[in-house]
């Protein structure tokens, strides 16, 4: 569950990234957060992961209030989230299995649980047969699937995918989106930050469009094309 209530963010250099943003994402939703560069998408993502705090307003993510969250509580907030990045952020010297297992170890999961859970996740993303390979031996789409497995392995209630298809060709991008849709159908809330309008319009999902730090549209279905055409 995500709540942003009248959120403002002004960076130290004076840039006003968010200007009174109000957004609610309920459990089990699939939401596209779209908008051009500088619209405030990254600021929202960073706020949800508690990398930054709002200047004004209130941000609540999975029952943690980001405004006044203690440093010691941040890891526990992040355990309720799974983050997928455009550049995958896999560790090259670790195998696919180790990359996923590493995320479980980092939260103190016991070895016997890791041994059961990691193959299950790799199977879910269709990469169990490549568990012993290193990330640089995989294609871009496969690397992103490993990153998704890693994001999911600690059973988060919200997946934040920040431009997950930015480095992929259209066919692989579609595969990744379908995988995220499948994950959502299993009950995980999914927030996809993107500016790939064609991809957004292929899925009939809720689309929140940002521009200039404000929400300019929040509708069900592929509205992104219409909104950008209008601007």
């Amino acid at each position: 569950m995500v709540r942003l209530i009248d959120v403002h963010k002004t960076y130290d250099n004076g840039t006003k990234a968010l200007k009174g943003l109000t957004l609610r994402i309920d459990d089990g939703e699939f939401v596209f957060l779209v908008g051009p560069s500088g619209s405030g998408k990254s600021t929202v993502t960073k706020m949800l992961t508690a990398e930054i705090r709002p200047t004004e307003g209130r941000v609540v993510v999975n029952n943690y209030t980001v405004n006044n969250i203690k440093s010691s509580e941040i890891p526990y907030l992040r355990r309720t989230l799974g983050v997928v990045f455009q550049d995958f952020r896999l560790i090259d010297k670790k195998s696919v299995y180790e990359n996923v297992a590493f995320a479980m170890r980092a939260v103190g999961a016991p070895q016997r649980v890791i041994k059961k859970r990691v193959p299950y996740m790799l199977d879910l993303v269709g990469l169990l047969h490549k568990a012993r390979r290193c990330p640089n031996e995989l294609a871009g789409g496969e690397q992103q699937r490993v990153a998704i497995a890693r994001a999911l392995v600690n059973n988060p209630s919200l997946i934040i995918a920040d431009e997950p298809t930015g480095n992929l060709d259209p066919a692989r991008s579609l595969e990744i989106m379908m995988l995220l849709e499948r994950i959502n159908s299993l009950g995980t809330t999914v927030l996809v930050v993107t500016h790939e309008r064609e991809l957004v319009n292929r899925f009939s999902k809720r689309v929140v469009a940002l521009d200039g730090g404000m929400i300019i549209s929040d509708r069900m279905g592929g509205y992104y094309q219409n909104e950008t055409a209008r601007h």
């Binding site: 010691s72 983050v83 952020r89 939260v107």
Partner: protein
């Protein structure tokens, strides 16, 4: 952290030491050198303390007679000296006897005093034994007042000199401990910083998936601790070897200044090395990791 995976931290810490082996080797060597230097100064101070205690426990005073006085006249002073307050016994040592004792002390190098029989530079003296150590100072003063007495060498002079040397050694030791401790801290911190730098992406991912700061810190603390531990143990054995060799050399040369056997200080020395090494190692790694945790 639900439970501590010690074997994971150990694997990561040891792996990190070997992944930048040269830097780890340099850190251990520098730290070892620092520990040996500070250890050596502490051992010197300890030996001086021991020597002071030994000298203080001996109440003997040496009275040198004016060299202008012939040996016979010097010998005749025995009653005057023995009658001084608090003197229990006065033993006359002629300059010939003193030369022969000196020749014995020199052992293999006794040829150095060959030819001095005719022009003996030593003086006639008395060894004074006192009744009560409490009046040591007063006895020395009374002996000094005898006109034919050229000088009185009491153990108090030696202890005073040793105390001065000890304070210098202590001051130097303190400065060295602070200076070399800082150097070791800097070296360890940089070694661990290198490890954190090579693993910065890993750290960022760990933060993102919800690892606590303690979990991220642990492998680096293990690394610093192990580097400190290795330095301490190797420095201890090196110090043992150096001390043993020096002890042999010194006791062969100057019987009076025999060092305290290493077995007498080994436990304290080991604890000192272990505590300083592991403290500096752990503190250095904590300093290094600090800024990488602000993700």
């Amino acid at each position: 952290m639900k439970r501590l995976d010690i074997s994971y931290f150990l694997r990561q810490g040891v792996g990190s030491i070997f992944s930048h082996g040269f830097m780890s080797f340099a850190a251990v060597t520098v730290m070892m050198a620092c520990l040996i230097i500070t250890g050596s100064f502490s051992l010197v101070a300890f030996n001086i303390d021991h020597m002071i205690a030994k000298v203080e426990s001996q109440s003997e005073i040496t009275v040198y007679i004016d060299e202008a006085l012939p040996t016979g006249d010097a010998q005749a002073l025995k009653d005057t000296i023995a009658s001084a307050a608090n003197v229990s016994k006065a033993v006359f040592v002629s300059k010939e006897q003193a030369l022969s004792e000196f020749r014995k002390e020199l052992g293999e190098d006794s040829s150095l005093v060959d030819g001095l029989q005719d022009d003996n530079p030593l003086r006639n003296s008395y060894r004074i034994f006192i009744k009560d150590v409490k009046f040591y100072g007063e006895t020395v003063e009374a002996l000094k007042k005898i006109p034919q007495v050229a000088s009185v060498v009491s153990r108090k002079d030696i202890t005073d000199r040793l105390i001065k040397v000890r304070s210098v050694v202590n001051a130097v030791s303190f400065v060295l401990i602070v200076m070399l401790g800082t150097v070791s801290l800097f070296i360890i911190s940089n070694t661990v910083k290198l490890a954190t730098f090579t693993r910065r992406e890993e750290i960022a991912i760990m933060k993102m998936v919800g690892a606590t700061n303690n979990f991220i810190r642990a492998p680096f603390v293990v690394e610093g601790f192990l580097l400190g531990l290795t330095s301490s143990v190797t420095a201890f054995f090196a110090q043992w070897g150096i001390y043993y060799y020096l002890g042999k050399t010194i006791s062969a040369g100057f019987g009076l200044f025999a060092l305290v056997p290493f077995s007498g200080v080994s436990q304290t020395a080991f604890l000192f090395f272990l505590a300083s090494g592991t403290f500096v190692g752990t503190a250095g790694s904590l300093l290094a990791i600090r800024k990488f945790l602000n993700v």
